[in-house]
Symmetry: C2
Subunit: 221 residues, 2 copies
């Protein structure tokens, strides 16, 4: 399949996130924004979710990166609409800008979709500051990053409704305690959901799939 | 020891990085800017370097974080000047702003120092965009982040003179090839030095220590 790369310069629109939200609602589409550090495992989580089938939800993916189409290529084996958004031509933006996302979404027939998965640019800081019109913000953090990150980068955890902990198969090779991470997450955000996963072993993917199916269902029914 | 936290609002100064550079040069001080993702292992590398003794170089550390004094506390056991710079009161800046750094440096007697180590805010994107008056930019990347990161976040690798690869003790537990990472780094920056390290086993710390001693020596003699 062909992977479309959005590189056209677009005028910044202040209310673009609001327009995106409206358009999604009109079409009964739920949008999830996956955020997290480079290498936290966002793409691997999306891959496993697509493999899981997501209960038949008609899904499309927007891959955000500063450069390369590597992530979109990883997902090309799934027969779903995928758009790669590169921020490099725009100064290497450290987050998914709403206007680029809007341009990416134009490539989809929203009326034929239930769920849009956005993988943001790898960054545990800046993407949390930008509303992109999503229904759910998800922070992805790998156990290799350490238990202290919620305290050091609190905004990302405060803004998110779900935290996906990744690479839990590595816990044995690390000085890492999942309990302490959970505690630190809760100190920053008392209502966030937490799902522990391993893309390698498949642990927790069912739970994550169920979570997204349920949330999407609440919106589209 | 007491850890000083810089939280005073400061007027933005456009040429602040230049002023920092000038002041360091006047005092024969070399400054290294460690950058990298949250959890890439920046603090652990700094810890091991301080343990190594750095050939007797009189060293001070500026710890950058959005929130918490956790990193400065980790280094408090070393009898050296340490300042923690928190960007949260300034909107959670995703990088070390030169004006906050300048304010932090005021806490040091530069005439009594050879080396200032700055640990930037955890972020593989934004810190690369800001000159803070340093002599050397160092990008820190852990093997847990994946081999593709130099291609996806090229600016950080292009701007840096040294890449410290961390957590190499985990390679066996990962689907990771150091050779492929080196190749991707070289594709983005053909002249960058690369040092492979493990803070846990101590691998590569001698080499990194030697590198910094040599660079500092070139400046202060």
């Amino acid at each position: 399949m062909e992977i479309k790369v959005v590189k056209k310069a677009l005028a910044a629109g202040e209310a673009v996130a609001g327009e995106i939200r409206e358009k999604l609602a009109e079409n009964g589409v739920y949008m999830v924004n996956f955020m997290g550090s480079p290498g936290s495992g966002k793409t691997a989580v999306v891959e496993r979710l697509l493999e899981s089938g997501l209960g038949g939800l008609r899904t499309a993916v927007v891959e955000g990166d500063i450069a390369t189409t590597a992530d979109a290529e990883r997902l090309a084996r799934f027969d779903i609409p995928i758009v790669q958004v590169n921020t490099e031509p725009f100064g290497g933006d450290c987050h998914m800008p709403p206007n680029l996302l809007a341009s990416g979404l134009e490539d989809f027939d929203l009326s034929a979709l239930d769920l849009v998965v956005v993988e943001n640019v790898g960054n545990l800081v800046c993407p949390a500051e930008f509303d992109i019109g999503e229904n759910l913000k998800v922070v992805v953090i790998s156990v290799a990053e350490g238990e202290d990150k919620p305290l050091k980068y609190p905004l990302m955890f405060r803004e998110s409704g779900l935290c996906v902990v990744t690479k839990t198969d590595l816990v044995g090779a690390l000085d890492f305690e999942l309990g302490r991470l959970r505690e630190n997450i809760s100190r920053v955000n008392g209502t966030i959901s937490i799902i522990e996963t391993s893309a390698r072993t498949g642990t927790g993917i069912d739970e994550l799939e169920g979570f997204l199916i349920s949330r999407t269902g609440e919106t589209i029914t």
